[in-house]
Symmetry: C2
Subunit: 179 residues, 2 copies
């Protein structure tokens, strides 16, 4: 029987950061070139509070429907699909106005994953797969299988899990454990 | 740690049959009093084909938003919530136009269950709870914990699972296993 991998959406296969920066610039009338440039000029910038402020504009069909695909995620998942059963596990209950956007987005960009393998949930502790690829420490902590942390600026100091900086790292990890 | 129960929605906590019969009568311009009366007069009636025919009208917000609550399900689940962690596990991917209806319906009728415990999925084999209460034999077959069959006309000959004809049977079962 194939082993099972559950894959988070936001900031793992959906490059939410790109859409978030765009929204942030538009709403706050900013025009910086790079995030580093902005953070250098605004060392007290509070990402978590900003996400909260922008939440009503994030929890929308338009925002989620148009998030770009994370670099290399399609190619690597298509390869992994030959040897693993792939499941999409997204904490959709945090953004309940985006169910349809998430469903349509998956159908468009990851048509090779069966919709019977989509899981729109909250707490992922009840998901019973061999692996979970996620950027959320909270979700990885609760997960009973092997957790793979998709690294970003909010979780970069975490070292309890296998770390992947990008999808090529994920390909390398699964190649490395191949019998 | 509390044990976990996953609970299906349609035909378990949502009395879909009532809404389905209403829709069936309306669409086919029928006016029978009871289902038994109709089946006696139409012994070749094919439920599965009829569901397929009516699917475009079932896979809608209006249909799912207005399904009545299954008798006694609120009372019994409220009692069970003291001793178990409750999760709602619904094969929503079969009816992808009803995500919002299902979410709103749960918020309205089962507000005591945390939305972080909603699971909108397809295949329930990846759900890792101690119990699953479901009317679908296909889902119970794949489930690794203890399956409880919520009996209806489509599954009544099945005998591999604990059987519940109604929510009082479910209360009795969980009382009977109490330490």
């Amino acid at each position: 029987m194939k082993k099972k991998i559950a894959i988070d959406m936001d900031q793992v296969i959906a490059d939410m950061e790109i859409s978030f920066i765009e929204l942030f610039k538009k709403e706050y009338h900013l025009s910086f070139e790079t995030v580093d440039e902005y953070l250098k000029a605004n060392p007290n910038f509070d990402l978590v509070s900003t996400i909260k402020e922008l939440y009503p504009l994030i929890n929308t069909h338009a925002f989620f429907r148009n998030i770009p695909v994370m670099k290399d995620s399609q190619t690597v998942l298509r390869e992994l699909a030959d040897e693993y059963d792939l499941y999409i596990a997204t904490a959709a209950m945090d953004v309940p106005k985006t169910f349809t956007a998430k469903y349509e987005w998956l159908q468009e960009h990851f048509a090779f994953i069966d919709s019977q393998h989509y899981i729109f949930c909250g707490d992922k502790s009840i998901i019973h797969t061999d692996y979970l690829i996620d950027d959320s420490i909270r979700q990885l902590e609760r997960f009973s299988g092997t957790g793979i942390l998709f690294v970003n600026s909010l979780n970069e100091t975490e070292d309890r899990y296998i770390r992947a900086n990008n999808w090529k790292d994920i390909r390398d990890y699964f190649l490395s454990i191949k019998e």
